[in-house]
Amino acid sequence: MGLQYLRDVVTLELDRDKCTLCGMCTNVCVHGVLAVDDNGIHILERDACMECGACAMNCPAEAVTVRAGVGCAWAIFRDWFRKQPTANNRQQVVI
């Protein structure tokens, strides 16, 4: 699964009782963190999660929660020197 960041830090949580197995969260995740199979929804690769929030945003049942944000040292620096934290502010170029 290629590059992974720090272990055991991610805030991703699943409420399996709420899940309707629609599969949307597995669709939107670019890291294949979540999976739906015969046993229901589960977290496959927790440490691969980058807390982008796409799964939680697109879960119609509100079964997934994550503290979404950007893993960017610069943005965090800025927040340290600012009273109220800025909104999610990505400094990445992908497309």
Binding site: L3, Y5, V9, G32, M57, G71, V94
Partner: protein
Amino acid sequence: MRWGIRRMHYSVPAGLYAIGQPTHESPVLVTANYKLSFDLLRRELSGKDLWLLVLETFGINVWCAAGKGTFGTAELVSRIQKVELDKVVNHRTIVLPQLGASGVAAHRVRKATGFRVKYGPIRACDLPLFLKNGLKTSEENRRIKFTFRDRLVLTPMELVGAWKISLVVLLLLFILGGLSEQEFSLQGVLSRSLSPGLIYLGALLVGSFITPILLPWIPGRAFSLKGAQLGLLWAFAASITLASAWSVGSIIALFLIVPAIAAYFAMNFTGCSTFTSLSGVQKEMRIAVPVIILSIVTGGVTLVLGKFL
């Protein structure tokens, strides 16, 4: 995009665009009004007939705009209503880039407009196949890769981003070069600050260029730790070349400061990567930032004391 000098604001007006000769049945693709993505899309889709719905993201690409919320549910819903998309096409499906998903709640869009959101492939070059396969994408194209090439493309931005602080550092080294018992001459100061300047630039290069491109092969997970290791190698290389004639105090300072600089710049690459989480970077910084500061300050004190004692 962080260019340090000026944010690039290349945008196209938001609205509905026709590519080729689209009909009531043609697919609708949604994108940001960042000009570079827009042009790339048009190029990849040339020869096809479809609708392109461009959202107002203020010239920011899909990924960054989704994080900010400008590529978001509210803008998408209001844009669909503004262009009266329901009158333009007969079907009720729109295709969004997968990287826009962190800003858009598909089920809310459907509730508000009747349009079903389909998340397409990550890369524009996979779109033609996606369209041909009836809006289906492979698992493979849903996964983000952070390849050697991706990292290579991103590193120049890191270097450009470091120019301001680098000027300050080089100036400081120049001033430090002037603190000498020898008689003052510009040439003397320049030659004394040449090696430290080169060593600094080397540390910058190690942290913001070499570490990022070698990322998967350097042990450890924290970016700063990866940078510090290569920084240590560079300090060692410098100590037997550029700094071979330095005093013990200066060599100690070299080994304290150079890895710290490399660690700092490597840590800044987290923002360019596609797999670091907010919680992770916060944890990394809570440890790395004090260590980096302590290391640089101790090194600086050793250096200055060495000059006077």
